[in-house]
């Protein structure tokens, strides 16, 4: 049948040009934030606003995110902080940011020792490929951070 041949014959170059032009006009992502994006500086400012002058350290946070998100409307995220979760020593909160969304804040998750485990999952919107940053505040005042990039697939018909 030659109808399928017609579009199979699109050369890779032509196809790429089309993707370039069409990528921005992707249908169906109308619920996603489309305004000007935040940036790394805005994320830093937001973090400062929460934790003051403290310097976040690396470590203790496990960030579970897809490397490539099939749809930016619904990106699953699980965050876990290594903490004994006792009255004396626990993780108080984890703040999640996305540096290329119109607003950097995604969520602040507040734990208590009654959680038993500093682990939580939710789903978020990512307007485009960007870094997701988590900042954990511990009961002793120390602050930890972790970052992961998520590539967001734009456009297409959903298959």
């Amino acid at each position: 049948m030659n109808e399928s041949k017609q579009y199979r014959d699109v050369s890779r170059r032509q196809a790429l040009i089309v993707v370039g032009a069409g990528g921005l006009a992707a249908a169906g992502l109308t619920l996603l934030p489309q305004a000007a994006s935040a940036d790394a500086a805005a994320v830093d400012a937001a973090i400062k606003g929460l934790i003051g002058g403290k310097t976040p350290q690396a470590g203790r946070i496990t960030l579970d995110l897809p490397q490539i998100a099939e749809n930016g409307n619904t990106v699953p995220i699980t965050v876990e902080v290594d903490s004994p979760m006792t009255e004396q020593d626990y993780c108080k909160a984890v703040h999640i940011f996305a540096d290329k969304n119109p607003q950097p804040g995604v969520a602040s998750i507040n734990f208590t020792p009654a959680c038993g485990k500093a682990k939580a999952s939710t789903r978020m919107r990512l307007a485009k490929t960007q870094n997701v940053v988590a900042v954990a505040e511990m009961s002793d005042g120390s602050v930890y951070t972790a970052k992961a990039e998520v590539k967001v697939t734009i456009g297409g018909c959903g298959g």
């Binding site: 579009y7 014959d9 699109v10 099939e70 749809n71 619904t74």
Partner: protein, 267 residues
């Protein structure tokens, strides 16, 4: 002719990027694969599949819950609920999701589950029909079809249903729209190939109504048909039209043996 096709494809951004052979896939998909038929589940990303895997993570179950409530809700002048006649849906609706659409004698044509629900409402409950794609109709359809979850799709295509099946088949292979593409152009000839950033599936219907990440809610099979038809730049038919109900029967038969998955989660 070929130039025109290319221009049309380019204009739409609906470009099939990969030519050649389908991806070989050695994964054992269990119940989601029957012979050469593969549920849309097997084409979805791992994260999307995991949302479907657990009923307490699958947001579509919120619609199923609503359907359960509506099942027991008395409405209309006859003072009846669905449960007044059909009692326990787990028993009375055990098969429905696997065997619809069916030929309906009084109308001389096929009806699907949505239409059966509304017939019950208008004729037996003396209540108003629910609008297509309303929260109520989606919830009840998802609830009813969910009762047949796991059951192999087994529609009847002979006898009085035969001519409607043939019409549905004709629709499936009929090229349409400015892109001049048929259902089969994507879902038969190119299942397993990429269309821009998406992996084309076989276009199976066993998980509908389905929660689409794109829609951020549950939607009907006919909404999906309308989306596909728009994307090939054809004028979509109305949800609930004879054309789409006939197509629904053809698709069900095309996926015969795949288990009902309602409510599925898809990109």
């Amino acid at each position: 002719m070929r130039r025109i096709a290319l221009a049309a494809v380019a204009a739409s951004g609906l470009t099939v990027m990969l030519a050649g052979t389908a991806l070989t896939d050695e994964t054992n998909w269990g119940a989601y694969e029957v012979g050469d038929k593969r549920s849309g589940y097997t084409y979805a990303a791992a994260e999307t599949r995991s949302i479907q895997d657990d009923d307490f993570e699958n947001p579509a179950m919120l619609w199923v819950d609503t359907g359960q409530e509506l099942w027991d809700t008395v409405e209309g002048e006859a003072g009846k609920a669905c449960a007044s006649c059909h009692d326990d849906a787990a028993v009375s609706m055990a098969e429905v999701g696997a065997i619809y659409p069916v030929y309906y004698e009084p109308r001389g044509k096929l009806i699907n589950i949505e239409q059966r629900i509304n017939l019950c409402r208008t004729e037996n409950m003396k209540a108003k029909a629910w609008k297509w794609e309303s929260r109520e109709l989606l919830s009840m359809t998802a609830f009813v079809r969910n009762q047949a979850r796991g059951r192999p799709v087994a529609v009847k295509i002979d006898g009085p249903a035969a001519p409607f099946y043939e019409k549905g088949k004709e629709f499936y292979y009929q090229r349409r729209g400015q892109l001049d593409m048929a259902c089969k152009s994507c879902h038969e000839d190119n299942a397993g190939n990429m269309i821009r950033a998406n992996l084309l599936s076989q276009g199976q219907s066993n998980g509908f109504p389905t929660y689409r990440l794109k829609w951020q809610k549950v939607g009907s099979l006919h909404r999906r048909f309308r989306g596909c038809n728009s994307q090939v730049r054809a004028t979509p038919y109305k949800a609930g039209s004879d054309e789409y109900v006939n197509l629904e029967l053809f698709l069900a038969d095309r996926g015969r043996g795949l288990p009902v998955e309602t409510p599925a989660v898809r990109n």
